[in-house]
């Protein structure tokens, strides 16, 4: 019988996960709801980073700076100017995110390869230093913007941890759909083309530089949106939130989940936030040790992150039960991943 359309298993799983998350306030405590909200925000940050990182082949170690632009924008708008509309705040955050990302990209794209990583790393630190030293980016007496309240979304109701979780979920899902659409569009295809073979794309008439800059700008805009959500959720934004350690964590989320894949970075962001939280519940002083060991193990054992591991599993099971075929599938996978 002919099936008119088919839902891919990964899409089915994604819809299921969103449904479970939407219902999660029914069975989670308030603090767990807050953790899930935070995890969702970090998932969006990681997904926004992966537009440039995985799909553009532009490994940025300064993404938190762009995220921070969004956070500081809504923070200053709300605390100093009383703008509490989410729509205005998010719009302003994304607009400034675009500007910051364009400047960031103009400088960083002067460098290539490993150099690009170093430059983004230091640019990120520069912005974090700015946050530390510039009075404009501080509330009185502290090195941070404090007292950021909940936004209003034009409906009159009181926020609860459950409703904010659902709101963040909706924003994240919409942003994810936008990201997926962008990556599926001719732009997304050309971007991956530039990543895989820049010379060939140039020869075909694509201006590679513009695609890279556009990837960084889109990545920065959505990162700034995530940063705005982060500021609303935490009520505070600090230089540490925008610093290189935070950027490094975002990269870890992307790589842990699997860079350049559709769901990998989202899952990575979500899972690492949860692991980090429970590691510090377990032993606050030794939490970085636990998280660090997870990273080292992932780097050494899980080539291509979680997504890579899942792909290998799927191929293995599809290629029949004989061990020979399974091994062949694994080797093909390895060679495909091999980079020059």
């Amino acid at each position: 019988m002919r099936v008119p359309w088919r839902i891919r298993p990964s899409s089915g799983l994604a819809v299921g996960a969103v449904a479970v998350l939407f219902l999660s306030p029914l069975f989670l405590s308030t603090s767990q709801q807050s953790l899930v909200t935070r995890a969702l925000i970090f998932a969006l940050m990681a997904a926004s980073l992966d537009i440039a990182y995985g799909h553009g082949g532009l490994p940025s170690l300064g993404h938190s700076a762009l995220v921070g632009v969004g956070g500081y924008t809504v923070g200053i708008l709300m605390v100093r100017h009383g703008v509490d509309s989410f729509w205005l705040g998010a719009l302003a955050a994304m607009a400034l995110g675009v500007v910051a990302a364009a400047i960031f990209g103009l400088l960083a794209l002067r460098a290539k390869g490993i150099y690009f990583i170093l430059v983004t790393f230091t640019l990120g630190q520069m912005i974090s230093n700015l946050a530390q030293q510039w009075k404009f980016l501080k509330s009185t007496g502290v090195d941070a913007i404090v007292g950021i309240g909940m936004p209003s979304i034009g409906l009159s109701f009181e926020w609860s941890s459950a409703s904010f979780l659902r709101f963040v979920l909706v924003v994240t899902v919409v942003a994810m759909l936008v990201i997926m659409q962008i990556l599926r569009s001719p732009f997304g295809l050309a971007l991956r083309g530039v990543r895989d073979n820049e010379q060939r794309m140039e020869a075909l008439g694509y201006h590679a530089w513009w695609y890279k800059l556009a990837a960084i700008v889109v990545s920065g805009a959505l990162g700034a949106l995530a940063g705005a959500l982060f500021a609303y959720h935490s009520g505070i934004i600090t230089p540490t939130n925008v610093g290189v350690a935070a950027s490094g964590l975002l990269v870890l989320m992307v790589v842990f989940g699997g860079s350049g894949t559709t769901y990998g970075p989202v899952v990575g962001g979500f899972v690492i936030t949860i692991i980090g939280f429970y590691a510090s519940e377990l032993n606050k002083a030794r939490a970085p040790l636990i998280v660090g060991l997870v990273f080292i193990a992932t780097a050494l054992a899980l080539r291509g992150g979680l997504a890579g591991a899942v792909q290998r599993l799927v191929r293995r099971s599809r290629s029949g039960s004989t061990a020979r075929l399974a091994r062949a599938a694994a080797t093909v996978d390895e060679t495909e991943r091999g980079r020059p």
Binding site: V244, V255, L289, F295
Partner: protein
């Protein structure tokens, strides 16, 4: 003049740190972001030997170098398993930074150590009307000496020629029957040992703290960007430039000190993206 001499001393520490990083990144294509953590371990080892155990300072510096070199062996064993994979190298680096920083906090407590007091390095030398503290003089002397040795090894010996050739065409070097793997081990161990020495020497003015794993790494990265990878001369020039610029901006505009350094980096990027030495990173 006083500020200038401070800048030279800090520049010397940064050079020790950045020279290894530049070789690892430039010659080996290994993104070893844990290099700052090695520096930090060197600083703490120096503290334990010199202050904790009261050993003479040269012993502490050598001890820190040996300890950091041993750490370099471990790092090489780990990075060997993710060759040419920037994603995994970044992940591994950050994992190592987390683990090493946390272990250091565990062993030496999270409270930072103030700059080490070494009695025989107190006082200062008077040149014309300027007093240059002995501590800074010692740092500069060690830094310059190491710079000279590194320059000689890299530019004038067969080993250095292999390292430079590996930077340009690793496959060709292998095809000539040279075991590049051993060169990688050598660079890792030597680079880490020098970073450890940098930690112990830097401890005289900067103390030791767990934040150094990232802070010192960042300055070293700026130097690698400004100086270009894999060139001792370029790295040295950039280190001195950054050290002096940092010292002056600290005394002139205390609020915005670090911005000057990054502004310089941005300028170099715009004018000359391959850094002062002009060699391209792999």
């Amino acid at each position: 003049m006083q500020t200038f001499s401070n800048g030279i001393a800090v520049g010397a520490v940064l050079f020790l740190m950045a020279s290894g990083l530049s070789l690892l990144i430039g010659a080996m294509g290994v993104l070893d972001l844990a290099h700052g953590a090695v520096y930090m371990v060197g600083a703490y080892l120096g503290w334990t030997l010199a202050i904790g155990l009261g050993q003479p300072y040269p012993v502490a510096v050598i001890g820190a170098g040996v300890g950091a070199g041993l750490l370099g062996v471990v790092l090489e064993r780990l990075f060997r398993r993710v060759p040419g994979m920037p994603d995994e190298q970044i992940l591994l680096s950050f994992g190592l930074i987390y683990v090493i920083t946390n272990v250091v906090q565990w062993v030496w407590s999270p409270i930072a150590k103030s700059p080490f007091d070494v009695s025989w390095l107190e006082g200062s030398v008077h040149v014309a009307s300027v007093a240059i503290p002995n501590v800074r003089l010692a740092i500069a002397v060690v830094g310059f000496a190491v710079a000279l040795v590194l320059w000689y090894v890299q530019e004038r010996t067969r080993t250095g020629a292999i390292v430079r050739a590996g930077m340009d065409d690793a496959n060709m070097v292998r095809a000539l029957g040279i075991h590049l793997d051993w060169v990688v081990v050598g660079v890792f161990v030597l680079g880490s040992a020098v970073a450890g020495i940098a930690g112990a020497m830097g401890g005289l003015v900067l103390g030791a703290s767990s934040a150094q794993a990232i802070d010192v790494l960042l300055l070293a990265l700026v130097i690698v960007v400004v100086g270009g990878v894999g060139s001792v001369v370029g790295t040295f020039a950039a280190s001195m430039l950054i050290g002096v610029l940092d010292a002056f901006s600290r005394s002139l505009v205390p609020g915005m000190s670090s911005v000057a350094i990054y502004a310089l980096m941005a300028l170099v990027l715009v004018v000359r993206p391959t850094g002062l030495s002009g060699r391209l990173a792999r």
